[in-house]
């Protein structure tokens, strides 16, 4: 059962001119979150935009004695709602509804987990990486951004023991080009791997195709426009295969995580 919490902003850390990490005092929600789940948020008192917006839970925040004190969001500023989150100040209140949606299923050894993140698609992988580490699962993060300055939390993932494969579109860090390039290369020789992907839909489609070709399982987290996050509005649908037909399925309740092969990428 999701909860609605008016969460105080603990801190708002600007990572760059468009990325920020917003720490929210919503321990009740944080304690229930599974990797890949999301929350619907809106600053208290905000009239415009009218609706809440979906954000993956990024980190689970803990105090010195490992007690859960809240959660954070990794947000990329692209419009008005994300600007509001970028400008939020400690002490402001954010209405936060969650946890919502179907989580990732973390694999266990001997299967390896390869996470593929494009840009702000990094968000759901912090909690997933923790879950994988807990299970002793070997994990890698393929992480692509525009340039070196758009790659965040690298130390954080390394500390957890996640192997990093970085790409940038301008070549300023890691490999030059798209994240799918090293992924394709490595999949050619990889065995017993489960892929996890989050990022722009063309990237998800490409990862799903690579997974299919190399015969690996892939779980993708999709980001569709969501009006409610609870299955009420039918705005967030994505075409999903059922036998040889496809149907519009609500990504907020049936997803946001889907088996990559289930989705009809031809029309997305």
């Amino acid at each position: 059962m999701p909860l609605d919490v008016e969460a105080a902003v603990i801190a708002n850390r600007h990572l760059s001119s468009d990325y920020n990490v917003l720490e929210l005092a919503a321990p009740e929600i944080a304690a229930r979150v599974e990797p890949g789940q999301f929350v619907m948020v809106k600053p208290r008192g905000q009239q415009d935009p009218l609706l809440r917006r979906p954000f993956s839970v990024f980190e689970i925040l803990r105090d010195g004695s490992r007690g859960v004190i809240g959660l954070s969001l990794l947000s990329k500023r692209i419009g008005l709602s994300t600007r509001r989150l970028y400008d939020a100040q400690a002490g402001d209140h954010i209405r936060c509804l969650g946890p919502l949606g179907k989580p990732f299923v973390p694999v266990t050894p001997p299967t390896e987990a390869w996470m593929v993140a494009g840009g702000v698609g990094l968000a759901p992988f912090a909690t997933l990486a923790e879950a994988l580490t807990q299970r002793g699962t070997q994990s890698r993060l393929y992480y692509g951004g525009r340039s070196a300055a758009d790659l965040f939390y690298l130390d954080w993932f390394e500390r957890l023991g996640v192997e990093l494969v970085l790409t940038t579109e301008d070549g300023s860090r890691g490999l030059h080009g798209r994240v799918t390039v090293p992924l394709e290369r490595d999949l050619a020789t990889g065995r017993n791997i489960c892929l996890y992907a989050c990022g722009p839909e063309p990237m998800l489609a490409a990862v799903a195709r690579l997974a299919a070709t190399s015969n690996h399982r892939v779980q993708v987290s999709v980001e569709r426009v969501m009006g409610c996050g609870l299955g009420g509005c039918y705005s967030c649908v994505i075409p999903v295969r059922h036998g040889n037909r496809t149907h519009f399925v609500r990504s907020c309740v049936a997803g946001p995580v889907f088996e990559g092969q289930m989705i009809d990428w031809s029309t997305t």
Partner: protein
């Protein structure tokens, strides 16, 4: 304090109803709201058969509102009865089934099928969805069409029949009268306003369907006026809606003439709104010493006009 609300033969425990298309089939919200505490649940519009609806993007936000063109995606009446009604019954929901057809026969057929289903409390006739060409809206924009649909359904059911009117007409009150004449037990209004948003960078519509229906607080003042007009035109009860987001807003519709209210868009923003609305209404009733909510309905004091200042 008496919060009950009568709609023909149906008595609701309070005047708060979840608006069709904004509350899924009700079951989606069962974790969050005790469905039995609502006056009623108007489920998502149902055709006889399943529908895929329109491709995304299906919604876009607008100043104090939102546009939708879902296209009535739905599981069809049969799956609804099999898959959803058992849970709705078990949870004590008062179910208003919102039905959509492309012909009079389809409306009548839906009514016949649903009349035999335990737990269905009323039929809301969707003749006002602006987003699909095939169906109801052609009836909803014509007085005879409205009369005919209501009449056709009236012939085949004992359930309360509640046509849902479109605001996209010159004189909504005449549609309320046509509904009353055809034997409707109540009318619901308003459905959404036909509208569009264009992305000026790409010069393309923001919705795949080009146009969509506007809902939310932006439309409230128009919807209140329409409820007021209908209240003066008909004797059957009115289910008022359009941008209700607080107890104040619900009371505004009731004072204008709505016996019950529906809440759509606001439930997306705050699915925990229901107990807050109820608390706000009872607080108001206490403060104003109103024992029965029915006594508030249509009590607008429009005598202001008499105070008009006359140039002498």
């Amino acid at each position: 304090m008496d919060l009950t609300c009568r709609l023909g033969s149906l008595t609701l425990k309070n005047p708060l109803i979840a608006a069709s298309g904004c509350f899924g089939y009700g079951t989606e919200y069962a974790d969050i709201v005790d469905l039995s505490t609502l006056g009623g649940v108007a489920v998502k519009g149902l055709f006889l058969s399943e529908r895929e609806g329109h491709p995304p993007p299906r919604i876009i936000e607008t100043p104090s509102g939102m546009l939708n063109a879902i296209g009535l995606q739905g599981i069809g009446v049969h799956r609804f009865i099999q898959e959803k009604m058992p849970e709705l019954r078990e949870r004590g929901a008062v179910v208003l089934v919102n039905i959509c057809g492309t012909t009079l026969e389809e409306y009548a057929e839906l009514a016949r099928i649903l009349s035999d289903v335990e737990g269905v409390a009323a039929l809301e006739l969707n003749i006002s969805c602006p987003n699909i060409k095939e169906g109801g809206i052609t009836f909803g924009c014509s007085l005879t069409g409205t009369f005919d649909v209501v009449h056709a359904v009236r012939q085949v059911t004992q359930l309360p029949v509640i046509p849902k009117l479109t605001p996209n007409v010159t004189d909504v009150a005449s549609f309320a009268r046509a509904s009353e004449d055809a034997g409707a037990d109540a009318v619901s209004l308003v459905n959404t306003f036909l509208a569009m948003v264009i992305d000026v960078e790409t010069r393309r519509p923001k919705l795949s369907n080009i146009v969509g229906g506007l809902s939310g607080p932006a439309i409230r003042p128009i919807a209140v006026r329409m409820v007021y007009e209908c209240h003066r035109a008909v004797r059957i009860p009115i289910l008022g809606m359009g941008g209700i987001a607080s107890a104040r807003d619900a009371l505004e519709f009731m004072i204008a003439g709505a016996s019950a209210v529906q809440v759509g868009t606001a439930n997306f923003e705050d699915p925990f709104i229901w107990p807050k609305l109820l608390a706000g209404i009872t607080e108001y009733m206490e403060r104003h010493r109103i024992a029965r909510i029915a006594d508030l309905v249509g009590t607008l004091d429009a005598s202001r006009r008499e105070k008009e200042w006359i140039s002498s």
